[in-house]
């Protein structure tokens, strides 16, 4: 594949021969992937193809049956999810998982827990150290919220936020854990084209601002084709194609198993209709 980045670069994430079985069923089978620093990589495939399972394997929620996951040359095997997060991998979830009864501010402050800088004894005694560190932590969280323009909503209970804001808060919370690699699981699910466009801008923005590498699962072709530099297509737990958006769109196997010929035709049709109006 000619579109591979320079192989001399150090990988951010390297997955080799990853397999996960659930009671004999192979959810992921012999999956390989490499992500280089600064890339925005897409992972697509029909429901149940094993995409979310891969996220769960990377973040340590599942233990792989076989295979290696290496993050910046560290084998993640045997690490607990929280340790993996502390190493610099953060994620969002397909169906938003905020802390629903907590405030927006607390949602973000929890992400700073690992860097809180005071012990439980400090907290119970409410000593000087607690005061200082807690104040610093809160300010950091507030400042961070202001980057996402949510600082005025700090007191709102997360579950009362509108859907789009919840998505944004979830991404903000993931970024507050200061990751180098961000995993986004269907961020555009349930959004209309306008919101999707905004989301795409947001992803571009955070990538620049926080110097991130991003792995993205998505169904909406517009998003994937629009922003990803490389795409991996999965079906039944296996990789069926990988390459740039152009390569994927014209890949026979992908069209056969995933995209379909008609979809292209219909969108073509619509495009024509629209051009009539215009």
């Amino acid at each position: 594949m000619t579109d591979q980045p320079d192989p001399t670069l150090q990988t951010m994430l390297e997955i080799k021969g990853l397999t996960k079985e659930f009671g004999g069923l192979k959810a992921v089978n012999n999956f390989d992937m490499e992500i280089y620093p600064g890339e925005l990589v897409g992972l697509i495939g029909p429901n149940g193809a094993g995409k979310t399972t891969i996220f769960n394997l990377i973040t340590g929620i599942y233990v792989p049956t076989r295979g290696i996951i290496r993050f910046k040359n560290t084998n993640l095997m045997g690490f607990q999810p929280h340790e993996i997060t502390q190493m610099g991998i953060a994620r969002t979830f397909q169906n938003i998982r905020l802390f629903p009864n907590l405030t927006v501010l607390d949602n973000v402050r929890i992400a700073y827990h690992i860097h809180a800088g005071y012990s439980m004894v400090d907290a119970i005694l409410h000593n000087r150290r607690y005061d200082q560190q807690e104040k610093a932590l809160t300010e950091k969280a507030q400042e961070f919220l202001s980057v996402f323009n949510m600082h005025t909503r700090q007191g709102e209970i997360a579950k009362n936020l509108p859907y789009g804001e919840q998505r944004r808060l979830e991404i903000a919370r993931a970024l507050a854990a200061s990751p180098e690699l961000l995993l986004l699981d269907e961020p555009a699910a349930g959004m209309n084209p306008k919101e999707v466009a905004e989301l795409m801008d947001l992803i571009h923005f955070i990538r620049e601002r926080f110097n991130l590498t991003i792995l993205l699962i998505e169904h909406q072709m517009r998003v994937v084709m629009g922003i990803c530099e490389r795409i991996t297509v999965m079906d039944f737990g296996e990789v069926i194609a990988r390459g740039t958006p152009e390569v994927i769109q014209n890949d026979e196997k992908v069209i056969e198993a995933y995209l379909g010929r008609g979809a292209a035709a219909i969108s073509q049709q619509l495009r024509e209709k629209r051009s009539h109006v215009a």
């Binding site: 607990q80 009864n101 402050r109 323009n149």
Partner: protein, 422 residues
């Protein structure tokens, strides 16, 4: 240090109330009956604050609170019993040594565990059990040589002061023993899902009760007298002592909850998977909360043991393990204020008022009316009497809204940030 108004608004009336009770009882206006009930209310508050941490804030459905209460009660009672009846500090010395050495053993084993990755729960549990047994044997062995010197040392003090010191340690060690038992029991069991955890902890309460029934034969503590009930415990729990412990427990709970550790505890209740993804070690958070909650239960147990001076295993029957659960649900899960209020109400109404109101011969109706009250209240207020209400002091205060440093910045950020159009 600047004291906030909400702090004063909470503590002044609260301490005032505690002092008032003390004054009224010393003057003789408040009869012994009611003072005892109030003490039980305070004891109940402490257990329930512990359970509220475990269930209300951490989300772990525990029915084991009553078992830890029993452990604390018997451990504490044994220490003071030996001191007053046998004139020996043997209970104090041995329990103290066991608690310290077992804590050391646990620390060592957990260090070892963090090096041996991928160890399954059962194997870890086995290691902890081995550590516990070794520490206990060593403690008892060393303890033998320390009993006499320490007894003599305490005898140098005036008897009253020495007794109070022994009592104070008895209460703390009651909590300590309960905490350590909860640690080793919680280690494997906290990995179970919600309902299963509840069932396992219910089992724990039952096992403790069975052991206490046979404490003189199976466990070898003759002074506990098994199912005949332990008598001769000094009635040392004064209203002042319970008040002090209650105040400490409230402060600890409040301070803990208002910190990043408290938020981590709550995040586990809210969404375990999201908490993991935020870098929070959820098994650690669960263990800490469970141990702290059980520590409170143990404290309360030791205090309770010295209220009536009499302990019977039937007091710790598993049916009663639902009482703290009922109280915290009525107080409002996750409300410190509600928990304390409901605990006192429970003690005063169920043990006091219903006993007084019901005419002779109708005592058995008490437990017919109680469940009906429960039912009606639950149907009317499923969220608990107080819901999530808190006194301002106990409530977490939101910091003022962040003002970006230069005034031009906000508009800039608005433009900068896409996705705000909705």
């Amino acid at each position: 240090m600047k004291i906030q108004r909400s702090t004063l608004a909470f503590w002044v009336p609260f301490i005032g109330l505690l002092v008032l009770v003390q004054v009224l009882s010393s003057v003789g206006i408040l009869s012994n009956f009611w003072v005892t009930l109030l003490k039980i209310g305070a004891v109940m508050s402490i257990i329930c604050l512990g359970l509220n941490l475990i269930y209300g804030f951490n989300g772990q459905f525990s029915l084991g609170q009553w078992g830890f209460y029993a452990i604390g009660a018997y451990a504490g009672a044994d220490i003071t019993y030996r001191w007053t009846q046998l004139h020996s500090a043997s209970g104090l010395v041995v329990v103290l040594l066991v608690v310290l050495l077992v804590a050391l053993a646990f620390i060592l084993v957990s260090k070892l565990m963090s090096r041996l990755r991928g160890l399954d729960t059962l194997s870890g549990f086995t290691l902890y059990i081995i550590g516990l047994l070794m520490a206990a044997v060593i403690a008892i062995f060393i303890g033998r040589y320390l009993i006499n010197p320490i007894t003599n040392l305490l005898n140098l003090l005036p008897l009253n002061i020495a007794s109070q010191i022994v009592f104070f340690f008895a209460v703390l060690l009651g909590g300590g023993v309960a905490a350590e038992v909860s640690y080793i029991f919680g280690f494997p069991v906290l990995t179970l899902g919600s309902d299963y955890f509840g069932i396992a902890t219910l089992g724990f309460s039952i096992i403790v009760k069975v052991l206490l029934d046979n404490s003189d034969t199976l466990l070898g503590f003759e002074e506990m007298k098994g199912a005949r009930g332990m008598i001769g415990i000094p009635k040392m729990t004064s209203w002042i002592w319970v008040s002090i412990f209650l105040v400490i427990v409230i402060i600890v709970t409040r301070n803990l909850l208002h910190s990043t550790h408290g938020r981590a505890i709550i995040s586990v209740r809210e969404d375990e998977i999201a908490a993991k993804a935020m870098g929070i070690n959820i098994s650690q958070q669960k263990t800490i909360t469970f141990v702290l909650g059980s520590f409170f239960a143990g404290l309360a147990g030791a205090l309770y043991a010295h209220v009536n001076g009499f302990l019977h295993p039937n007091t710790f029957s598993f049916i009663k393990t639902f009482d703290p659960m009922i109280i915290i649900v009525f107080g409002g899960l996750g409300s410190v204020t509600g928990t304390v209020a409901a605990a006192f109400t429970w003690a005063l109404v169920l043990e006091g008022l219903l006993r007084l109101v019901l005419p002779q011969g109708f005592e058995t109706w008490r437990y017919v009316i109680y469940p009906l009250l429960l039912l009606v209240l639950m149907l009317l207020r499923p969220q608990g009497l107080f819901g999530t209400f808190e006194f301002p002091y106990l409530r977490q205060i939101l910091p003022p809204i962040f003002q970006p440093r230069n005034s031009a910045k906000p508009t800039e950020t608005v433009n900068e940030i896409p996705g705000d159009g909705a």
